[in-house]
């Protein structure tokens, strides 16, 4: 997917003025936030599971070469063909080659964020394969020709009326505004595809190193059908998805569904190991696993390693005041919300992605809900520091901040400036608001007033009332 994150501000403005979108976003995030909070409160073991999950993920990353090597060996031993892809272009090439070699003409695909990241569908289509998205939300956005807007609920920006008009226009189905009828249409249309597809394409929620197993978590059941019925199973997964043991899976299953949708567990969890055995009545004869790097080993190298602990639950999106305001598309790449604000600059380049890292108040809500305790606000600050270090920041802002730091660390200068500001404010400003700042800083006052300095500085009032200087206490 071509990143458009450098246009974040423009795209946010568009999102903020779209009333339908605003209603969908607030409905979704509100429901998810409430459901998560309720299910966490109902499960006393959640904090212990967070500690455990966080520790396992970090330890796995610290020895990822070992664990990934183990996964590769075990999966190959059970009949999988492993493909290593350095970047998105290689992953697309590999997928197209597999489809050709396997003679696939129809593929059913489950939701995969990594699939979006490398644009897997278009690569398969270019290789002559009809690719049907089988997750209902993905099916809808595929019909609409749009990218997904939420990790867990890709079509949250669409109303039932919009969905039905799509079904009328693209599938020739009769109009209905009843959601169960819309779901029944999709079930019927997709069932035909599941039964005739030559290949199922999926991501992976977890790769278990000691058994070479793939764990897939879904609610609809598309993940199971697409990985049990077709002759070929193609998996694409980021290298960071590995966990050391199959027996580590339960702790992550206590974290992921609660954090994502507030369910104690998702309706379907599949643990898939190797290919169909001779005695098995169903299951794929061929299993191809593409392990995608695409910048992840670079992230592993440095101070951002913790971001690779992410299990893609979407909790940080739902709780984030920025995501709640602008929705997923404004972020301009595969991963929106706080997790995307860290991943996008790291994976698509600092200059491309840095507007996302800057669009945060660092309120910390994302870190509070993260099931694997990723310190997202700290990572956002690191990215901003990198931006300055690489000379990407506006020199006026750097100069202004230096001046600010100089003034704030010298009480005498601050006091003098406060007095001057107080005079200016009482003479020139109306109603205690500065409607504009000089043009280099006008970004702060384009959409809101800057609070004017008070006529009397706080510390002067304090001194008068308490007779002491607050900093001398």
């Amino acid at each position: 997917m071509e990143p458009l994150s450098r246009f974040f501000y423009r795209r946010s403005e568009k999102a903020l003025s779209d009333a339908t979108l605003q209603a969908s976003i607030s409905r979704t995030t509100g429901k998810f936030v409430g459901a998560r909070a309720d299910s966490v409160a109902a499960f006393p073991g959640f904090e212990a599971a967070r500690d455990e999950g966080s520790r396992i993920k970090r330890e796995t990353l610290d020895r990822l070469d070992h664990h990934l090597g183990r996964f590769i060996d075990e999966a190959e031993r059970r009949g999988a063909v492993i493909h290593a892809a350095r970047d998105g272009a290689e992953a697309r090439e590999i997928a197209a080659r597999i489809a050709k070699e396997e003679g696939v003409t129809l593929a059913v695909k489950s939701k995969s964020m990594v699939g979006e990241e490398v644009d897997l569908t278009s690569a398969l289509e270019a290789a002559g394969v009809e690719v049907v998205e089988s997750d209902l939300g993905e099916f809808i956005v595929q019909l609409a020709g749009e990218p997904p807007s939420h990790i867990i609920a890709p079509a949250v920006h669409k109303t039932r009326e919009q969905v039905s008009r799509l079904f009328v226009e693209k599938l020739g189905e009769p109009y209905t505004d009843k959601i169960p009828e819309l779901v029944a249409i999709a079930r019927r249309r997709l069932r035909e595809k599941f039964l005739s597809a030559g290949m199922g394409v999926s991501g992976a929620n977890f790769l278990c190193a000691d058994t070479g197993s793939i764990a897939l978590v879904t609610n609809e059941g598309n993940g199971r059908m697409g990985t049990i019925l077709p002759r070929v199973h193609l998996v694409i997964a980021g290298i960071e998805k590995v966990i050391p043991r199959l027996s580590d899976l339960p702790v992550f299953l206590r974290l992921l569904p609660r954090s994502a949708t507030g369910q104690p567990i998702s309706t379907y969890v599949s643990v898939l190991t190797g290919v169909k055995r001779p005695e098995d009545p169903e299951g794929p004869e061929k299993l191809h696993i593409i392990l995608l790097d695409n910048g992840r080993s670079g992230i592993l190298k440095g101070k951002y390693r913790d971001i690779l602990k992410c299990i893609r639950c979407g909790a940080c999106l739902n709780i984030c005041p920025v995501y709640q305001s602008v929705g997923g598309h404004a972020y301009g790449w595969t991963y929106p919300g706080p997790i995307g604000s860290v991943l996008t600059p790291l994976m698509t380049g600092l200059a491309e992605g840095i507007p996302l890292a800057n669009a945060s108040t660092l309120c910390g809500a994302c870190a509070d809900v993260c099931p694997v305790k990723i310190p997202i606000p700290g990572l956002l600050l690191e990215l901003r520091a990198d931006e300055r270090d690489r000379g990407l920041k506006d020199p006026a802002e750097v100069f202004g901040m230096k001046g600010y730091a100089a003034v704030m660390s010298r009480a005498g200068i601050l006091e003098a400036l406060e007095r001057i500001a107080g005079v200016i404010s009482s003479v020139f400003l109306k109603e205690g608001k500065a409607p504009w700042l000089p043009f280099r800083f006008s970004g702060w006052t384009d959409r809101r007033d800057f609070p004017a300095p008070a006529p009397q500085p706080f510390r002067k009032l304090w001194k008068k009332q308490r007779g002491i200087r607050p900093w001398n206490r």
């Binding site: 500690d51 609610n219 059908m225 080993s297």
Partner: protein
């Protein structure tokens, strides 16, 4: 074909990235808490509570006969006309055969159910485990078992005996790990989606109804 050395190259790239970066916090292995051994009755009660709260239907009785009218009615109102059970699952076959007179039912083969134009069906199968913690059924492909009844039918009927109940997922993974099958399917209630307007809707791709029949 796959160029030789690509996987090695990926692993060495990761090793290089990690070099000089110490592994930190080999922290305490605080597990999610161990509970005392639970009695079977308690396990079943907790399973039932979780299973029903996630949309499952639960039937239990001293034998099959008193449950048949209610089971037949549940299938009938879901529009089921065809019943199928996997070959070799004698218990499920018995349930399917005795159920036929309790609704507009006939026996069908798994092959027939796999067709695009299949009749509305109930897939009846003995489940291997039932997990109390989450109200989850476990169906695996171990020893050549089929997964179709819980996969493509309209109603999934899972036959359970008290011995199948475990407290946590860990126990059933450990039991299955000895001879790890190609597929393990953990099933908690009917297939669902919230993808249109965040409205919970039942019956996306999998069974629209999941019924547990607990027999001694």
């Amino acid at each position: 074909m796959e160029p030789v050395g690509r996987k090695e190259e990926l692993l060495s790239r990761i090793a290089v990235a990690l070099r000089g970066h110490e592994a930190n916090n080999p922290a305490s292995g605080a597990a999610a808490g161990s509970e005392a051994a639970q009695s079977v009755t308690d396990r079943i009660a907790r399973f039932r509570n979780m299973f029903e709260s996630q949309g499952g239907n639960f039937l239990a009785g001293p034998s099959l006969d008193p449950l048949l009218p209610e089971l037949g009615e549940a299938l009938r109102i879901s529009g089921v006309t065809a019943l199928f059970s996997p070959p070799g699952d004698e218990r499920a076959r018995l349930v399917a055969e005795t159920l036929v007179p309790f609704g507009p039912f006939r026996l069908a083969s798994p092959g027939e159910i796999r067709m695009v134009s299949a009749p509305a069906s109930a897939g009846i199968q003995t489940a291997e485990f039932a997990i109390a913690e989450t109200g989850t059924l476990v169906q695996s492909g171990q020893k050549g078992k089929t997964l179709l009844p819980g996969l493509i039918s309209d109603v999934h009927v899972a036959i359970l005996s008290p011995a199948a109940f475990v407290d946590r997922m860990e126990e059933c993974l450990a039991a299955l790990s000895e001879d790890l099958p190609r597929t393990i399917s953990f099933i908690t209630g009917p297939s669902r989606t919230g993808d249109i307007e965040q409205t919970l809707t039942i019956g996306a791709h999998g069974p629209k109804k999941v019924i547990v029949v607990l027999l001694p």
